[in-house]
């Protein structure tokens, strides 16, 4: 029985195959028009490589950027929307805040790239009363049918239904859906009360609209991929990575593609988390460095965190879907260094991308990038990139750094290159801080885990900048996200709005909470059952999203299986504690209000097992020595620095810096004063000497 993880990136589709015969890695070029072509090619190729008949593949887990790309390229479905009379333009107005303070020429993404054009937003007479949830004005069913006639005329089949106060009572949204299905039987319909049954109309409507916008295309992609795999004789189960780090089925993702908008980076975080447990290090800060951006996530105690739903945006639109808590910044190997008009030294966020790419690619790029700086400093060997598959021109790098940075600033080329690295590292360090220190997490108890091919070049510098404990380099840094796909659990979430005072809740209120909790649990259980997960393996967690009465932002409190008058105080206390941890202050006297109940169901699936490598026989690590070259380190010293083939090191080997560890698609920098210790799986811990 074999399993395959397939992670589709902007340039490469990475694959990992786990079978009784061992673990295999493979890369194929991403097919941008339709990712499924590359996925199928890659699956067949890696099977061939492993000597495996494709019919023997049991499960394929897939990380995809298909849904995300639709939002970036603005080529989703033409959608129609039914909404409450008087509120036709909620999606156009948004929260009426400009994306930027000091600008006259700013873009407003929700107006310039609307998810639903105004002409297709049809206002319907209906009204749900607040706070009771009673029907105040009945649904105008004839108006719904008339809107459907217009949609038919315009060829619109993707429909959003978002009514005011549907978080209190979804009856009108449900009834409108029945009518739409009568009028347009093959419509793709999203109800706001189904995707995000929570208070705040703009965010809820935007979530529903995003679902219908990316829905039909994403559903087509997923089903097409399934068919192509079948056609190629691969009858395995296909699972999709969701933004929350859990995997789900093709059916569920086709209905709720808003849950896979961050499918790609989620695999990296999960991969990083599992590498942490392999290294016996639960407190991690993962830094996934790509060509144009870096994704940073803090994982305390091995538990991947999920973002506050108030903070989840995709391409400028709020989307209330659980997403792994990470920050993405414009810092990567392709980030361009430049001197601005007032003489400021800047690196990124603009990237040279892969065309023209860094100057060293020799594709016409003349601006220095972070990669060029690494080459100038001798940290990347131009003849060793991708195991020598990619030829780089060091002279072009040097010239770019000299012309654009060193000369204008009156610095040596080396100093200028060091400056580029220091500024980009600082940008990443600040993002790490915002995702850790700013939230009450002390980085001194955490290890930096850098990955992406270039990640381990930055690991030690980042650890120093944020005072992290040490650095853990994964086994295969260039393919960590694909590996992560084979290490994630099934995961489903459902929410319901339950707005009531928790501190003063009486027996009736508690019974109401318990009834809603039971219903949520049931919905989650149904999904796990549908996946064929036996009851004993199902894990269901309940979370109370609370705030002080009158506040605007919820934080998560722990929730017992059954709430009682007695254990209620524990929920309240856990909210006070959370508030104090996040903001450094709490209001112990204030009323705590419950806003949303959330049930999270998961089921552990078999994790991919990475084999241990041979333990050292006590011989010198020099067996792995490739050659020695000059390399410049952050303290400005240029030292003769040995390169070691990382694949020839044994567990327990210790390599003292200055040193560079090389493998096919990744390079690890071990500065002087540091030692790299090879761990059981070929992963590596780097720490300061004497630490």
């Amino acid at each position: 029985m074999a399993r395959i993880g397939v992670d589709v990136g902007g340039t490469n589709t990475d694959l990992v195959l786990e079978s009784p015969a061992g673990i295999f890695y493979h890369k194929v070029p991403t097919t941008l028009k339709n990712q499924s072509i590359g996925v199928v090619d890659g699956v067949l190729a890696i099977c061939a490589r492993a000597g495996l008949n494709p019919t023997e593949v049991e499960t394929i887990v897939h990380g995809t950027t298909t849904a995300t790309n639709i939002t970036i390229e603005h080529n989703g479905s033409d959608c129609g929307m039914l909404t409450t009379e008087g509120f036709r333009d909620i999606l156009h107005i948004g929260r009426h805040k400009r994306p930027t303070n000091f600008s006259l020429h700013f873009d407003v993404p929700w107006q310039s790239q609307p998810l639903v054009k105004r002409r297709n937003r049809i206002a319907i007479r209906e009204r749900i009363a607040a706070p009771s949830g009673e029907v105040a004005v009945a649904l105008d069913e004839a108006a719904v049918r008339a809107a459907c006639a217009l949609f038919r005329k315009r060829g619109i089949k993707s429909i959003v239904i978002g009514f005011m106060f549907s978080f209190l009572n979804e009856a009108h949204e449900q009834r409108a859906k029945e009518i739409v299905l009568e009028e347009i039987p093959d419509a793709y319909i999203t109800l706001s009360s189904e995707v995000a049954k929570v208070i705040r109309e703009y965010e809820r409507f935007s979530t529903a609209a995003m679902n219908s916008y990316v829905g039909p295309k994403t559903a087509f992609y997923l089903r097409d991929l399934e068919a192509r795999l079948q056609g190629a004789g691969i009858h395995s189960k296909l699972r999709i990575m969701q933004s929350n780090g859990g995997v789900s089925t093709v059916d569920a993702c086709a209905r709720r593609p808003i849950h896979i908008l961050m499918s790609g980076p989620a695999g990296g975080v999960i991969g990083g988390a599992s590498e942490g447990s392999m290294a016996g290090t639960p407190n991690l800060i993962t830094v996934d460095i790509g060509g144009t951006s870096a994704d940073i996530s803090t994982i305390p105690g091995g538990a991947v965190k999920v973002m506050n739903p108030r903070d989840t945006f995709v391409s400028g639109h709020p989307v209330l879907a659980p997403m792994i808590d990470m920050v993405t910044i414009g810092a990567g190997g392709g980030s361009v260094a430049f001197i601005d008009e007032a003489g400021g030294f800047q690196v990124g966020p603009r990237s040279a991308g892969s065309e023209p790419g860094p100057a060293c690619y020799g594709r016409g790029g003349t601006e220095p990038t972070v990669t060029d700086a690494q080459i100038v400093l001798g940290r990347l060997d131009p003849d060793m990139a991708l195991g020598g598959d990619l030829r780089l021109d060091a002279e072009l790098s040097r010239r770019a750094v000299e012309e654009k940075i060193a000369k204008p600033l009156g610095l040596t080329v080396t100093k200028a290159a060091l400056g580029i690295i220091r500024i980009i590292n600082n940008n990443m360090a600040l993002a790490i801080r915002s995702n850790s220190v700013a939230r009450g997490i002390d980085p001194r108890d955490f290890s930096i885990m850098p990955f992406g091919g270039a990640g381990p070049l930055h690991g030690v510098a980042l650890a120093e900048a944020v005072n992290a404990r040490d650095v853990i380099v994964p086994v295969a840094p260039g393919i960590t996200a694909a590996v992560g796909l084979l290490k994630s659990d099934l995961r489903y979430e459902h929410t319901d709005a339950v707005i009531l005072e928790l501190t003063g809740a009486d027996q009736a209120a508690i019974e109401r909470i318990n009834a809603i909790a039971a219903h949520l649990r049931e919905r989650v259980r149904d999904e796990l059952n549908a996946d064929g997960i036996e009851r004993a393996r199902q894990k269901i967690e309940l979370v109370a999203e609370c705030r002080y009465a009158g506040q605007g932002f919820e934080l998560r409190a722990e929730m017992p299986d059954t709430l009682t008058l007695q254990n209620k105080a524990g929920v309240v206390q856990s909210f006070h504690d959370r508030h104090h941890l996040d903001y450094g202050y709490s209001y112990p006297q204030a009323e705590v209000e419950l806003i949303t109940l959330r049930a999270i169901g998961s089921a552990a699936v078999r994790r991919m097992e990475v084999p241990k490598i041979a333990a050292t026989d006590g011989s010198s690590p020099d067996r792995a020595l490739l050659f020695v070259r000059k390399t410049t380190f952050d303290d400005g010293r240029t030292l003769e620095t040995p390169r070691y083939d990382r694949t020839k090191l044994f567990a327990g080997d210790k390599v003292q810096g200055p040193a560079i560890l090389v493998q096919h698609d990744s390079t690890t920098l071990v500065p002087p004063g540091y030692v790299a210790e090879v761990l059981d799986y070929g992963n590596t811990r780097i720490r300061a000497l004497g630490a």
């Binding site: 509120f87 107005i93 607040a130 003489g343 220091r422």
Partner: protein, 591 residues
Amino acid sequence: MNQMTKSAVDVDPITLQVIRGAFETIAEEMGHVLYRMSFSSIIRESQDLGAGLFDLNFNTLCESESTPMHIGSIPAYLRGIGETLEDGTWHEGDVVVHNHPYYGSSHTPDLAVVVPVFLDGRLIGFAGNTAHHVDIGAATPGLIIDVPDVFAEGMLFAGTKLYRKGEPNTAIWNYIRRNSRAAQQLVADIEAQVASARLGARRFVELIGKYGEETVFAAANQLMDYAERMMRQKIAAIPDGEYSAEGWLDDDGRNRDRRLKVKVTVRVAGDGLEVDLTGSADQTPTAYNVPFEGSTKVAAYAAFRKILLDTATSESRVPSNEGSFRPITVTAPLGSIYNPRFPASAEARFTQCNRMIDLIIRALAPVLPETIIAGSSASISFAAYSGVRPSGDYWVFLEVNEGAYGGRPRSDGPDSIDNLMANTRNNPLEDLAMHIPMICERYELRDDMPPGAGEFRGGIGVVKAQRMLAPGFITHESERHTDAPWGIFGGTEGAVGRCTIHNGDGAARDMPSKFSGLAVAADDVMTYYSPNGGGYGDPLKRPPRKVLDDVLDGFCSVDRAREVYGVIVDPEAETVDMAATEAARKALAPH
């Protein structure tokens, strides 16, 4: 040694960027904690706040990117605190609250909370923030307009210590609790401000611990020089000269028949400039005046950051500090609406600030045609709804309504969005209905009047109708009922704003743009229409496809498409008749 001594240390460009990033992170973190913790919707939803770090000379070292009216306002507060500080001196553990408009505040509801930063027992700077509070016990709930003087604005704090050497000053806390209609929110939100300021002070000390005092302050100075250099370069590119524009404000909120003139003159000389407001109206007898230090100057600085250092068109961002203000001087005669004399009230000051910025943009149109934009709504709608609950407790809700931008040289003016100096978030209507006896009836784009036509049309304002479910009070501070946003380079003017009140099926009565403490009945509905922006460029140059889009989206009628744009639309087929359009445009073009 004084940290302001220039070039004590020359910080290398790399360390400079590192410290800049650290400063910005601290300011953002301070702002984040404040709005996430706070209770009143004006702070937590609208984010009407600012936060930052300051040196002993009250220079801003960094400031959060929250609401522009707050950005750059805190130094004037610090100068005012310097003059009025309780005990005459700072102690470690002190926390000060301050809002006196004649001692530097932006206006009284914006309370500043300031914490001194000590290093080894020595004062080295300040961490502080400002936030708009729902009610500080003024003459009318929430907002005021028609009042006699500054003493009607509510509690005035000047250098008042909330904590002395770390110990709470319980008398002042009790006083605050007894003097607000929304005391619970006010006190909890001040506590949030204290938490934010203390956090900033802690981070400031950590930063100095890492890089050293000399380096940090030297870097701060260099960052100010850098911002100054950026601004001067841009000013130098404007031809020297004097550029003026004028406009009219509706009234002062009491004397309905008297319009108030705003005159702006921009004098550019080399790499510096002056904004001169001479010729603008005299100060008013109501609250409709602008505190000079805390608001007039701040708005003028912000105008040039928007015009000359536009983040959307610049590759690098200017750091948020004093540097970019240095090349700009602001003049307003004492006793005028932009520089009132004590004890005039000066609480309702926002629309005048926005109008000044709009007129600076207009004044510069002849020399910066590719940079400026057509007339924006340049007003604000600031409404205070209030009432007394059956329990006897007051409820007060502040609402900021948005406007629309003028057409731009390369794109249409954005619709339904906070304008110029304002940048708040609206309050979710569902959240409102769950908590206060008010229900929103309508919140949509305006369709009673079109925006200014142009190659790039003006933005479209909103219409918002709020129904009171129980008797209460409304105070509304708005503008632009008489003087429509201007079009430019062939673009036509936008539409004026409007405000009505009606009950049930009764007729709507037109309201003036400003009114105070109006008693309203259950089921009274106030409807506000914000002005539409002016157009930029010749409407006949607008691509027919875009005119069709506007027709289909309901932004432009078929008739208007034909008459103003010369575009012949078939609304049934949803197409443009290109031949007929060509002919219509020929006929409309001037010969």
